[in-house]
């Protein structure tokens, strides 16, 4: 009977060791350090909310050395920050099997004093694309039933083979830790490395959902950013927006969904009602000013 349990224990420790070879400690706030993972050679991904300064960031590498790191960019919406550090080790291996609720999961972090650390639990929920309260979109909602200790955020969430499922964060949900899915991390890393930031599309409209006489729904324009993308395209206050890029829009979430798939600079067709008559206008998506 012994050895099922002892074998599982050894398997878990091996998974921690394997994944731990790509996990670093990130020193970018006072008191507790956080964790980060080498996602690509020389590229560390961590949780954006644990980065409290933009300069004098250091990381403790998997081999124990402390080296300086530079912030390549971050996306508060998905809680992803990207750091560059000089290290030639291999990045974390990626999980290829589909995740289901009930799978065992480990979060692996690192601290300068005691090296690799691990916590274990299960994946408690997996569902489709999900928008965070910070406005970003995760490709999957992966809720974790495990304890994230101070310093765990930004660590890598792995399966029992030590393969990365995503990045651990305690900042996107009040009730549980989440894994930022690997595919979302890939997308954000690509965008940050090519553009230095994640641009958020915007139209410059204040909208309110309304029900039309024919019981369809639309969004009435209550305010207009002067010189904003919609104003430039000829939208006026009182217009009722009924479709964007061919999809019907009934609430502001629908607008966000369209904007996520239409990068800044692209032109979208807006269908609207003005005085009861249908109009089409082409709006060029603008970039939302970043809060500093």
């Amino acid at each position: 009977m012994t050895n099922e349990l002892a074998a599982l224990s050894q398997e878990l420790a091996a998974a921690v060791e394997r994944a731990g070879r790509a996990v670093a400690a990130v020193h970018a706030r006072t008191r507790f350090s956080s964790s980060g993972v080498f996602w690509r050679p020389g590229i560390i991904v961590t949780a954006e909310h644990t980065i409290r300064r933009e300069e004098e960031i250091t990381v403790t590498l998997p081999d124990g050395r402390n080296v300086p790191a530079t912030l390549a960019g971050s996306d508060p919406g998905t809680d992803v920050a990207v750091l560059k550090a000089d290290w030639s080790g291999d990045p974390a291996p990626r999980a290829s099997t589909a995740l289901v609720p009930g799978n065992l999961a480990l979060t692996i972090g690192r601290s300068q004093d005691s090296g690799v650390n691990a916590t274990m639990g299960i994946v408690s929920a997996v569902s489709g694309s999900w928008r965070t309260w910070r406005g970003g979109r995760l490709d999957q909602y992966i809720r974790l039933d495990l304890t994230l200790y101070p310093g765990s955020s930004g660590g890598v969430v792995v399966n029992t083979a030590g393969e990365a499922i995503g990045i651990a964060t305690s900042a996107l949900s009040r009730i549980a830790g989440l894994a930022i899915p690997a595919s979302t991390v890939d997308r954000v890393v690509d965008e940050i490395l090519t553009r230095g930031r994640v641009a958020k599309g915007y139209l410059g409209l204040g909208l309110q959902p309304v029900v039309l006489p024919d019981h369809h729904k639309g969004l009435i324009v209550l305010s207009l950013e002067p010189e904003g993308p919609a104003a430039k395209a000829g939208v006026v206050i009182g217009d009722i927006l009924v479709s964007l890029a061919g999809s019907p829009v009934e609430d502001t979430d629908d607008i966000q969904t369209v904007l996520e798939s239409h990068p800044v600079g692209q032109t979208v067709q807006a269908g609207l009602l003005r005085g009861g008559a249908a109009h089409q206008l082409a709006i060029t998506v603008g970039e939302r000013a970043r809060r500093s």
Partner: protein, 264 residues
């Protein structure tokens, strides 16, 4: 998995409840050999006369035969034989991620089991250079002094504290060294970090510091880590500098560590 239950049951028989004479609140302990040697935390064995209750309900008076406050370990003796001792594991081979289980008497629930994995192994900030095991097992007051065991049921640590929600345990190799070689030298003082140095809050009457004429309120001019290193250096006599009242005059004393008169 059946195995968890089976190991937990065996470990439960090697785990005891420890009560101090005066108050009811107590902790846990581990039966270290069949002739009545029980290991617990020094902070659990506060008074010289203790009570120990076995898993089967038998209760024995216990004597504190040795104590090491810096490692938070104490040795109790009870007059019993044919006990079921725990089997110690080798804590030096432990790795983060290994499955562990803790047995104890959290909040008075005798023999409660909690499980998790090893979180990390290493020094704790401000606690000297010695190594501790951290585990993501849920502990509560009353787990102190109880066993932390691996997936084969071997005791790899003595549960000691809860830090940021993580269980902290003294590694079993440290516990074995304490049993075989006795306590490490100690000053016999309770210290609190002051603005500079360490303030003496309390002294053991026959402790090394008391014999060197140190008093309550004196401030030792060193850090906790420096003191730990000095005590572990193997020297018999330490030269300590301190303030007494007047913070402009540095005083000096020689503390003879040597053989400690253990509480008998």
């Amino acid at each position: 998995m059946q195995a968890f239950g089976a190991f937990a049951e065996r470990l439960r028989r090697s785990t005891v409840q420890v009560f101090s004479h005066k108050e009811r609140g107590g902790g846990s302990g581990v039966i270290w050999n069949s002739d009545g040697l029980i290991l617990t935390n020094s902070h659990v064995a506060r008074s010289a006369e203790m009570q120990v209750e076995l898993w089967d309900g038998r209760r024995f008076p216990a004597r504190v035969s040795s104590r090491d406050p810096r490692r938070d370990l104490a040795e109790l003796r009870i007059s019993a034989s044919s006990l079921e001792p725990a089997s110690p594991g080798d804590s030096s081979t432990l790795r983060p991620g290994e499955l562990v289980m803790a047995i104890g008497n959290p909040l008075g629930f005798a023999g409660a089991l909690s499980t998790g994995v090893v979180h990390s192994i290493g020094a704790l900030p401000g606690m000297g250079r010695q190594s501790w095991i951290r585990a993501n097992v849920r502990l509560a007051p009353g787990n102190s002094g109880g066993p932390l065991a691996d997936a084969r049921g071997r005791v790899i640590g003595i549960n000691t504290a809860i830090v940021n929600g993580l269980g902290v345990a003294v590694p079993s190799n440290t516990a074995s060294a304490f049993v075989s070689r006795g306590p490490r030298p100690a000053l016999g003082v309770t210290l609190r970090p002051a603005r500079i140095g360490l303030e003496i809050l309390d002294l053991e009457p026959q402790g090394a510091a008391a014999r060197a004429s140190l008093r309550t309120g004196d401030i030792l001019l060193m850090s906790f880590d420096d003191l730990s290193d000095a005590l572990d250096s193997g020297r018999d006599v330490l030269r300590l500098q301190f303030f007494r009242g007047d913070r402009t005059r540095v005083r000096e004393t020689f503390v003879r560590l040597g053989a400690r008169a253990e509480a008998a």
